[in-house]
C-alpha cells in the first residue's frame, strides 16, 4: 500500500532545505542577452542615423516647394518634385490595382483549391518561390521587351505599373498564402459541415479572417515597389518631367528616379533637394504602413 503514496521526504543524502537564493545570472545567459541587444542596436542605430542625416541635409528644402513645384535644372531654388510625387502615387495606385487581386486570387487557388499532390501545382509553387528572388532589373528587361515593346504600351504609367506588379506579385502571393494558412482548419470544417460551399467558406470565413495578414503583406509588397528605381530606369522613367501624369497612358517619373537624378547633380542645392525628396518618400511609406496597421486593427476588432 505504501508504494502508492508519492514520497514527500527528500531522498537520502539530499540537503534538508532547498536554497532559494540563486548564484546570480550565469555568464552565458548574460552574454546571450547582450548579443540580442547588440543585434537590435545595429538596426536601430543605422536607421536613426540615416533618418537624422537625411532630415538635416534636406531641412533647407523641406517646404511646400518640394510638392508644389516641378523639376528645374537651371534654378534649384525653384525646383520641386511634384511630377515625381504624383508619378509615384499614380504608379503605386495602378500597381496595387493589378497585383493585389491577381496575387490574392492566386493565393486562394493555391491554398484552398489546388491539390498539393499534383505535380503542376508543386511546380507553380516552386516557381513562385524562385520568382521572389529574381533581381528587379530582370523584371525591367521583361517589362521593356514584352509590355513596353511587345504589347506596345510604350513608356507609360501602365507599363511601369504592370512591370512593378510582376515584380511584387510573388511577395503578395506568398504573404497572402501565409495569411490564409493561418486561418485554422477547424473554421473551414465548421463552415463546410453546415452545408456551406467551398466558395462561401472562402468568402465568408477564410478571407475575412485572413484580411489583416493580407493587408500587411500587400503594404510590404507595395513598399518594395515604391522604392524601386532600377526597372523603371530601363522602362524609360524619365528623369526630367515637368508635368503630372494624367492617366495610364502618360509618361512618368517617380521619386526614386528623381532622387537618383538630383544626387548625381554637382551643385549642393540639388543634393539638399534629393534629401528632401527622400524625406517625402519616407513619409509616403510611413503613411502606407499606418494604413496597413489601421486596416489590420479595424478588421481584428470585429471579433
Amino acid at each position: 500500500m505504501t508504494s502508492d503514496v508519492i514520497p514527500r521526504a527528500p531522498a537520502a543524502g539530499a540537503p534538508e532545505t532547498r536554497r532559494l537564493k540563486g548564484r546570480g545570472t550565469p555568464l552565458r545567459e548574460r552574454f546571450f542577452h547582450l548579443s540580442l541587444l547588440a543585434s537590435l542596436a545595429v538596426g536601430v542605430i543605422f536607421l536613426v542615423a540615416l533618418l537624422a542625416y537625411v532630415v538635416v541635409e534636406g531641412w533647407p528644402r523641406l517646404d511646400s516647394r518640394i510638392w508644389s513645384n516641378f523639376p528645374d535644372i537651371i534654378n534649384p531654388a525653384n525646383a520641386g518634385a511634384q511630377s515625381a510625387i504624383m508619378g509615384t502615387i499614380w504608379i503605386i495606385g495602378f500597381t496595387a490595382l493589378y497585383c493585389l487581386p491577381t496575387g490574392i486570387l492566386t493565393a486562394i487557388y493555391l491554398e484552398e483549391y489546388a491539390d498539393p499532390l499534383r505535380w503542376y501545382n508543386r511546380a507553380i509553387e516552386i516557381n513562385i518561390q524562385n520568382l521572389a528572388a529574381v533581381p528587379s532589373i530582370v523584371y525591367g528587361i521583361l517589362g521593356l521587351g514584352i509590355i513596353s515593346r511587345g504589347l506596345g504600351f510604350g513608356q507609360t504609367v501602365m507599363t511601369a505599373a504592370l512591370t512593378l506588379s510582376l515584380l511584387v506579385l510573388p511577395i503578395v502571393i506568398i504573404s497572402s498564402r501565409e495569411a490564409i494558412r493561418a486561418v485554422p482548419r477547424s473554421i473551414r470544417d465548421a463552415s463546410l459541415a453546415l452545408g456551406a460551399t467551398q466558395w462561401q467558406t472562402v468568402r465568408r470565413q477564410v478571407l475575412p479572417a485572413a484580411v489583416p495578414g493580407m493587408a500587411t503583406g500587400a503594404i510590404l509588397a507595395l513598399s518594395r515597389a515604391i522604392g524601386e528605381a532600377a526597372p523603371l530606369l530601363l522602362l524609360g522613367g524619365l528623369t526630367f518631367i515637368t508635368f503630372n501624369p494624367t492617366g495610364a497612358q502618360s509618361a512618368f517619373t517617380v521619386l526614386p528616379i528623381q532622387i537618383f537624378n538630383w544626387i548625381s547633380q554637382s551643385r549642393a542645392e540639388f543634393t539638399a533637394l534629393a534629401s528632401a525628396a527622400i524625406v517625402v518618400l519616407l513619409v509616403i511609406l510611413l503613411a502606407m504602413n499606418s494604413l496597413a496597421i489601421w486596416l489590420r486593427n479595424r478588421y481584428a476588432r470585429r471579433w
Binding site: 502508492d4 503514496v5 465548421a190 459541415a193 456551406a196 465568408r204
Partner: protein, 282 residues
Amino acid sequence: MTSPSDAPGGTKTPQVAFRDARTLADPVFEVGGLSVFYGDHEAVRDVNMTIGRQQITAMIGPSGCGKSTVIRCFNRMNDLIPTARVAGKISYHDEDLYGREVDPIEVRRRIGMVFQKPNPFPKSIYDNIAYGPRVSGFKGNLDDLVEETLTHAALWDEVKDKLKTSALSLSGGQQQRLCIARTIAVEPEVILMDEPCSALDPIATAKIEDLMERLSREFTIIVVTHNMQQAARVSHRTAFFTADVDDKGERHGRLVEYDETIRIFEHPADQRTEDYISGRFG
C-alpha cells in the same frame, strides 16, 4: 493513502440507468463493408452497422481505432482530406451517400457535425447561428430563427442579452453548446458529434449530455466518445471499435461489437469489449 478502488486499472462501471434501445426497423444509415483508406493505408476495415432513427448511437474504443474516421464518412467530411478514399457502402435512407450524383453540400445540410474542440466562428453569437441558414439561402425571419434555435439548445437565457457580442467571449461549454445550436439551426436530420466533450469540464459535459438527450427526441445522433461513462449514460446503442496491428506495425481499425448499450456494458459478446469496458486495456 489511496483506496484500492482509486488505483488505475481497477475502475468498475458504476450503476447506470441505461436507456432502452429503440427499434432499428426504420434505419437512417446502413453501413456495409465500409473501409477507409488514407493513401495506401487502410485506416478502417470492413465496418457493418445500422443506425436507427431518433436515437443516440455511441462509438467507443481506444485512440487510433478509426471511430473518428468512420463518423466523418457519414457527412462526407473525409472528402476534404485529399488522400482519403472510401470503399464499401453507406446508405442514407436507401440512397447511396457516395453515389456519383450526390452533392456533398446537400449531404452536410441534412447531416450536421459538432467537433471535438468548440470551433465557433470569430463572429457574434447571432451570426454564428445565422450562418448556416444564410449560406443555404434561408428566406424567413432570421431573428425568430435565432431565438428559436437558441431556446431549443437551452442557451437562450444565457446569451439573449449579448447576441451581438463575440462568440469567443463565451466559456468553453457555452461555445460547444453554441456549436450544437448552430448545427440544428439548419434543421438537419442527423447530428454527428466527434468527442464533443473532450475539451470540457464535468459540469459543462453534463449540460451537453442533457442537451443530447433532449435533442435525441427529434434528431438522430451519432457520438464518438473516449468517455465510456458518457456512452453508457447517453446512448441507446454502442459500437465498440478497436485497432488490429498488422505485421508491418500499421493499425487497422475495425468494429468489434455493436449492440444495445446495456448489452455492450453488461453482457458483451466479445472478450475484447469486455476487457475494454472493464478497464483492463485501452
